[in-house]
Symmetry: C3
Subunit: 138 residues, 3 copies
């Protein structure tokens, strides 16, 4: 049994979902772990990780619109140090969380047919987001 | 230290919470791992996993009603390829996520007294949902 | 490769976010695991765990107000055995979930600069909450 760790940098250009399933799969393939547990951890409080359908782009647009609805800008927040997208970004980060766990079997993540891995950028401006990958197995 | 993996099939009959705590406990007991980490992963984008109270059925009904409220059908979604329950199912999957992690001690999950493990089916029609179980420990 | 487990007791005094990052870091330092995966698991259905900004207290107050908005009290719940804060507490637990996973590198959690670990108490009265810590690595 052993471990492998890496860091993914995801450049973002405003609020959107950025898929990076292939980057994770490529890293996994570069390790010699065939059976195990993969953890991804986003080191930010205004960007988060989620798994959802990656076939229809309309799904991603609807998810973003729903986030605008459930955690809107300019909703009378006390904290707005960095502008109207500041506090909604923290709340939307809570909605999906900062980590994902995916079992690995036969050298591949056990993702279902339509499951893709996304970084959700919740700030309006461009950022470079860091996601730590941890893999344990054999 | 070693690992064990399995797959649970959860048959569903429309939107509801389906408890499968006992199935997980039975599998755990069949392994020889007494101390470790259990991960459950749902391989779908319109069904999710959650832990909540399993004593009062009214709690589960209130959770379902709240999901109808916070991610309603017919809310002007762009994506409705598979009907009005399609996009809300993707959003409700985000709300609870597709994976659970539960430490194992003395051969048992460290669940609290009232914690049960549920698959949340977010589609109206019947499905057979696959949940991968991964256990690492000794 | 080996494991370590512990239990944190978090005393709460009503609905609020209670940071316990330092307690987790102290426990981590007391183990001899430098590289691995940390899991925290809250054994309750009316308190949950989350990571968010720990620098500005206003962020925490806005998060609490948002939870009051998205899962309000007295919203016609069927289940109110323990009062108006009972069912909203179960729903708010779903929103952030009961577990966190944080990779460990060089003997420290890979938290970003502003990320703190919080227990979210969703009940109005005082409680003593139990969080299980599990660490696997080498």
């Amino acid at each position: 049994m052993h471990q492998s760790q890496t860091s993914f940098t995801i450049p973002t250009r405003g609020k959107s979902l950025y898929e990076f399933t292939d980057q994770v799969a490529d890293w996994l393939a570069s390790t010699d772990i065939a059976t195990g547990l993969l953890t991804l951890f986003c080191r930010h409080t205004s960007a988060s990780l989620l798994i959802n359908e990656n076939a229809a782009p309309a799904v991603q647009r609807d998810i973003l619109r729903w986030m605008e609805m459930v955690a809107p800008e300019r909703a009378g927040y006390e904290h707005d140090d960095e502008g109207p997208d500041d506090m909604p970004a923290h709340i939307r980060t809570l909605l999906t969380g900062e980590s994902l766990q995916i079992p690995v079997a036969d050298g591949r993540m056990v993702l279902g047919t339509w499951q893709g891995i996304f970084l959700a950028e919740h700030r309006s401006s461009a950022h470079r987001r860091q996601v730590v990958g941890h893999l344990i197995g054999e």
